[in-house]
Symmetry: C2
């Protein structure tokens, strides 16, 4: 499975834990809502700057974002 898909799944997982909509997350992170949809569905190769914004908005540390079974090799 590609890293894009794994990142998308992890974002969706954390967003659901927070109980907020894609639009609310996009607003918090100050990025486009339709772009969040694409990222969650593994269709975009997100840059580190936008990934950091999303992870901040999800209120986790970068290292904890990647501390999930999917990311371990």
């Amino acid at each position: 499975m590609s890293i894009k898909v794994k990142v998308g799944q992890r974002i969706r997982e954390l967003r659901n834990e927070l109980g907020i909509s894609q639009e609310a997350l996009a607003n918090k992170a100050e990025i486009d809502r339709t772009y969040v949809t694409d990222v969650e569905n593994g269709r975009r190769n997100i840059s580190i700057e936008n990934l950091e914004k999303l992870i901040d908005a999800l209120q986790v540390q970068l290292k904890d974002f990647f501390d999930a079974p999917n990311f371990i090799k």
Copy 2:
């Protein structure tokens, strides 16, 4: 300090620990050497796919790459 700069510093740190050149790292990760230079110097907003390639080539886990003082908030 921007995430681009932090990522660049961390890549350089880990590359130096491995004792390999930018060119050797670029070859291992299958990305362009001049691009590695720019990334290490914090001038490029790298995508998750290329960042994963570099981190693989540096032989660390994603979560360990981001488990450094610079990245903790």
